[in-house]
Symmetry: C2
Subunit: 125 residues, 2 copies
Amino acid sequence: MVLRMRTKVKALPGCPMSRCMALLGGCWTPEVLWSLSDGPRRFSELRRDIPAISAKVLTGRLRDLEERGVLARHVMPTSPPTVEYELTSLGQELLPAIRSIVEVGSRLLLRDSPRLMIASPSLRG
Amino acid sequence: MVLRMRTKVKALPGCPMSRCMALLGGCWTPEVLWSLSDGPRRFSELRRDIPAISAKVLTGRLRDLEERGVLARHVMPTSPPTVEYELTSLGQELLPAIRSIVEVGSRLLLRDSPRLMIASPSLRG
DNA sequence: CTGTATCCCCGTGGATACTG
DNA sequence: CAGTATCCACGGGGATACAG
C-alpha cells in the first residue's frame, strides 16, 4: 500500500469497528501486521518487507503497536543488537481482518488484470 | 471510530492489501461504507450515522469514493434537492473486509467488557 | 544492527459562514 | 436539504545525519 493514513487513532468507546480500526488503522499498520503474520521478524526484515517505510516511521509504528499490546519487542543481548518483533495474542486476533482485506484485494486484482496475478498475496512477493 | 487516517490513498500496483486499503483505508471510509452497507442513504442520514464527521469532509469522502467507483450518487429532482448515495458492485465487494473488521472489533470489545456489549454492532447504535 | 534527533513541508481536518 | 468557500492549525511523514 502507499501511505497516507494518520497514526494516532483512538477508539470510540463501544464501537466495534472503531475498536478494531484503532489497532490496525494506523499508517503502515496493516503492512506491519501482515509481515509479522507468519512469525517474528527483525527490524531490518520489516524494512525489507516494507521498502517504502522510513526507519523513523517504522520505529514509531512499532513503539505504538507495542504500547497497544499488539506486538512484543524482544532484544537479544548480542553485538550488534538483534531485535525481534512478534505478534501478541491480541495481535493474532487482528489477523482475520487483515486476511479479509488481503482476500478482497486479491479478488479485485484478479478482476482488474487476471494475467498479472500471482499465487500467494504477500508483501514479500 | 475516531478520525486520523489520511484520505489520498494510492494503491501499490499488484499488491492485494494495497488495492483494498486504497479503497477502504481513507479517513471515515469504513464508517461510510458500513453506513451504506444495508442500503442507500441520504447525505443527512450519513451525517447522523457519523456525527463526528464534518459536512466538508463527508462531501470530500463521498466525491472521492464516487470517483473510485465505490459508490454512486443519485440526485432526485425535488425541491429542496434529495441526494442518495449507494454502494456500487465494487463497493459491495469491499463489505466482507468491513464485516471482518467489525467482527474482530466486536470480539475485542466482548473480551474487554462483556457486560457492556450490545447485540448488533452498528454505527447507528 | 537498531535505532534517535532535527528540520521542513504539506495534506488534511475543524470551524464557520454562506448558497441554490 | 445538500452542499461550497475560506481560513487556520497541526501533526505526521520524508530526508538526512548521527549514535550505542
